[in-house]
């Protein structure tokens, strides 16, 4: 039941964009999760959001995370960090898991893709979303002793946005925020002046961009010597290539960590990690792919934490040359896919089907009105006939040995055979596939057809831009479409969810017509734990252990 008096009272304190969000939820076009997510991007406080959601009758689902008892030691098997644990350069799962134990972000992406304030207490933007103002949490202490101030945030962001610094975050900041454009308003307020308006900016400085842990302005690049940060844990011991252990940070600003201690052991391969969990040497594994991880999926001693994600494998088809230059051929290829079988077979059901656009249904901005593409061999044959290749053709598919991708390639090969497309597979190491990762020197970017892995993102903006914009640096499909570019530019500037959905509908319609890339499925992240371990939040690829404990 809607409480209009309460709603009106809350609306009076909101701006035009925020009120648009309330309109959307009143009109029933947003569910509770989408409402909270968009509200969090706009910087609405959790109390305001909760009040509005309650007033319009959207009750929180009873899915409270079980919590363990305090005082445990949690033992974790993770992938060996690929190199030095350095917040500027880290790019791998093992390294990022290390960063987030002692380090914290301005805000953190939750399981429902909302943003939770952490070192920032709130944020807001100007009318066109080109300037964002973040209020910082007072009284936060660094492990090294100093107090968090605006200068620390500015130095951290400048370090990551500096092209001279070998920063892994540079690609996320590209075209959005440049070095020198984070400015101090006062000791606890920072303004970010963006290169162009960007409605989803808080995600760029959130845990989505995992290099953005906030360090003191005095940080000298020697992270492995001090493991500084503001987090619930502080380092106890670190041995490169072997492991690390952490203990509770008694000076933490928030609720103190439940575990007394966490112990991370590094493993070079998945199978030993699985065996270590089965053998009782660890309590959880950071991440389990379905292929290769079947042994744990049905193990009665293991609990699988399932985390919905937007991670996927993109199948690109060259739009500028070769057999896929005709969009009817690309559409025909898309129509050969039996997506339900892909999810059931490749992922054992741990995922959801895709609709050849980056808009996974978990994104609130996804247009709900777009019909799902289904397997239709007859229509595929008609399209090939119309394109003048009714008798089929041969084509090479180049891809990488990573997760379930080789098996996906074989399934695509089988699907395509039904319409006479003869796919020859070239499956190579990741190094060989990505090559120099620039056009002309990369099998990934130069191949006629290929499959490429993309990790989870809290907003679809990255997926919409680099792999699909005409000048996108990851545009392996060589897709060039001015209408698309304009729509994505507009989408990026838009911060209200209604406007985003309208644009998403246009973008999805255009992509379904052009089909430069197949998005066959989005897969879940799976975290296997020993039975009885609770308090691990189901956030894809971010292992936060401060609430972990055995029940």
């Amino acid at each position: 039941m809607k409480q209009f008096k309460s709603i009106d009272a809350l609306r009076r304190g909101l701006g035009a964009v925020e009120n648009d969000l309330v309109d959307e939820i009143l009109a029933g076009r947003l569910d509770r999760r989408s409402f909270l997510r968009h509200g969090s991007v706009m910087g609405l406080s959790l109390s305001t959001l909760g009040g509005l959601a309650g007033a319009v009758g959207l009750v929180a689902p009873r899915r409270a995370m079980a919590q363990g008892k305090p005082g445990d030691t949690i033992r974790v098997a993770i992938a060996t960090p690929a190199g030095a644990v350095d917040p500027v350069t880290v790019a791998d799962d093992g390294g990022l898991t290390m960063l987030i134990q002692a380090g914290e972000f301005l805000c953190v992406t939750q399981a429902d893709l909302t943003l939770k304030p952490v070192l920032a207490t709130s944020w807001s933007h100007n009318d066109d979303s080109s300037v964002w103002t973040f209020k910082l949490r007072p009284g936060v202490k660094f492990i090294s002793g100093g107090t968090l101030k605006a200068d620390d945030v500015i130095a951290t962001i400048d370090r990551l946005a500096d092209p001279a610094n070998a920063s892994n975050a540079l690609s996320a900041f590209k075209g959005i925020l440049s070095k020198g454009n984070a400015r101090k308003v006062d000791d606890l307020t920072v303004e970010f002046h963006l290169d162009a308006p960007y409605g989803a900016f808080p995600y760029v400085v959130s845990s989505d961009n995992y290099n953005c842990i906030i360090l003191p302005a005095s940080y000298k690049g020697d992270y492995e010597k001090n493991w500084d940060g503001t987090g619930p844990f502080k380092l106890d011991k670190f041995t490169p290539k072997v492991g690390a252990s952490f203990v509770r940070n008694p000076d933490y600003w928030g609720d103190k960590a439940l575990p007394d201690r966490t112990e991370f052991t590094y493993f070079d391969a998945l199978q030993p990690r699985i065996l270590a969990l089965q053998g009782g040497q660890v309590d959880l594994i950071d991440q389990l792919p379905v292929i290769g991880g079947q042994a744990l999926l049905n193990d009665p001693n293991v609990t699988i934490i399932r985390e919905k994600s937007t991670a996927h494998q993109q199948v690109h088809m060259r739009c500028d040359a070769g057999p896929f230059a005709d969009k009817r051929v690309r559409r025909a290829m898309a129509l050969t896919l039996d997506r339900q079988k892909l999810v059931a077979g490749l992922l054992r059901g741990y995922g959801e089907i895709g609709n050849d656009t980056p808009f996974a249904t978990v994104y609130p901005s996804a247009a709900p009105t777009i019909a799902q593409r289904k397997q239709d061999i007859a229509e595929a044959k008609q399209l090939l006939e119309a394109a003048g290749v009714g008798k089929g053709f041969k084509v090479n598919l180049t891809t990488e040995t990573y997760l379930e991708i080789p098996q996906y390639a074989v399934l695509l090969q089988n699907f395509a055979r039904a319409v006479g497309i003869d796919i020859e597979l070239k499956i190579e190491s990741q190094d060989a596939y990505y090559g120099k990762a620039v056009f002309g020197q990369s099998d990934w970017l130069d191949s006629t057809m290929g499959i490429t892995d993309y990790g989870h993102r809290g907003v679809p903006n990255v997926f919409l831009r680099a792999p699909l914009l005409s000048d996108g640096s990851w545009n392996a499909a060589h897709f060039k479409n001015k209408d698309y570019d304009a729509l994505v530019d507009q989408f990026g500037r838009t911060s209200d969810v209604g406007g985003q959905r309208d644009l998403a509908a246009k973008i999805e319609t255009l992509l379904l017509d052009e089909t430069p890339v197949l998005f066959g499925y989005f897969f879940d992240y799976l975290v296997p734990t020993r039975k009885g371990l609770a308090g691990i939040p189901p956030i894809p690829n971010r292992l936060f252990l401060d609430r972990a404990g055995f029940v």
Partner: protein, 317 residues
């Protein structure tokens, strides 16, 4: 003996130099670069270029090699590209681990293999001979990852008799360390046993058929004395060469076992260095294994010379 050693040492040095060149050349053929390996395929090219520049990996290949070999001959293994820390402690720790695991496997397999070969030869044509040969051959062809996983599942997870990791807790004593190394050593025993046993059997059979053995039997020596004093001394010469050739494998070639049993040995160090384009770590790791291999071959040559006067005399006898 000293003369033989002095004659061999220059060859060993040349071998190691050629090895360093081959590794370096091979490293150049690997696709990608260290900046891309550290920052990932989707990193901004400016960041990749900046990291390659910071590490000196964007300099001409020969300049990099020249600097590396210059430091190496002075005992400096340089800095790791990936870990941005000196290579020597990584290699030292990994080598020590590998020597421990290799040592346990060596201690188990060499006596077992030689004994098996001799017993088979002494029972030539009988059921025991065939059983030893067949078991040895079968064990050799079972890949380490198969036997390793079976052992882990049965003895580690099922019966819980052994830990499934080869890495003992910090500060563990020698007995505990040995306990942790037994299970991973067994697949290595499987692989090397058949090889050593076959060589020992062939050598023993040949020695048993020789004129001097027949003479020893005919002059009335007990069978035990014939075997111990006349047959074994000659039978084991080719086996020693085989054992020496396996030493390099037992120290540096255990990537699969080290990965499976979660053990930080030099094999996995080399493997991850190659994957990460960490050229200084790769060169140092392979050169270390190369030195072990050369030293074990030299030791085998010395042992052969001690057992065979013709070798001591440079083939002039």
């Amino acid at each position: 003996m000293l003369g033989l050693l002095l004659r061999r040492l220059p060859y060993a040095a040349v071998t190691l130099f050629i090895l360093s060149l081959l590794v370096f050349a091979g490293g150049q053929l690997l696709p990608g670069d260290v900046g891309r390996a550290v920052l990932g395929p989707l990193a901004d090219p400016r960041a990749v270029a900046a990291l390659n520049h910071q590490l000196g990996a964007d300099r001409p290949a020969l300049v990099q090699y020249g600097e590396w070999i210059g430091r190496f001959v002075r005992g400096d293994m340089s800095q790791s590209f990936a870990f941005r820390a000196p290579v020597a402690p990584f290699v030292g720790a990994a080598l020590w681990n590998s020597l421990k695991l290799g040592g346990v496997a060596f201690t188990l397999v060499v006596p077992l293999g030689i004994l098996g070969g001799i017993v088979a030869a002494l029972n030539r044509g009988r059921l025991l001979d065939r059983a030893i040969v067949l078991v040895g051959l079968s064990a050799t062809v079972v890949p380490e990852f198969v036997s390793g996983i079976v052992l882990i599942l049965v003895f580690g997870i099922g019966l819980k008799l052994f830990p499934i990791s080869a890495t003992p807790p910090p500060g563990a004593g020698a007995a505990v360390q040995l306990y942790y190394l037994v299970l991973p050593a067994i697949p290595l025993v499987f692989i090397v046993f058949g090889y050593i046993a076959r060589m020992a059997r062939a050598g023993t059979v040949e020695a048993l058929d020789s004129d001097y053995a027949r003479t020893a039997v005919l002059k009335g020596l007990p069978r035990r004395d014939v075997v111990m004093r006349h047959v074994l001394r000659n039978a084991l010469l080719p086996t020693i060469t085989v054992v020496a050739s396996q030493t390099g494998y037992l120290v540096g070639g255990l990537v699969v076992i080290e990965t499976l049993f979660h053990y930080q040995g030099i094999g996995s160090l080399i493997y991850t260095a190659a994957r990460g384009h960490d050229f200084p770590m790769l060169e140092a790791g392979i050169m270390t294994v190369g030195v072990i291999y050369v030293l074990s071959t030299l030791a085998a040559d010395m042992l052969l010379a001690a057992l065979n006067p013709r070798i001591r005399a440079g083939g002039r006898a």
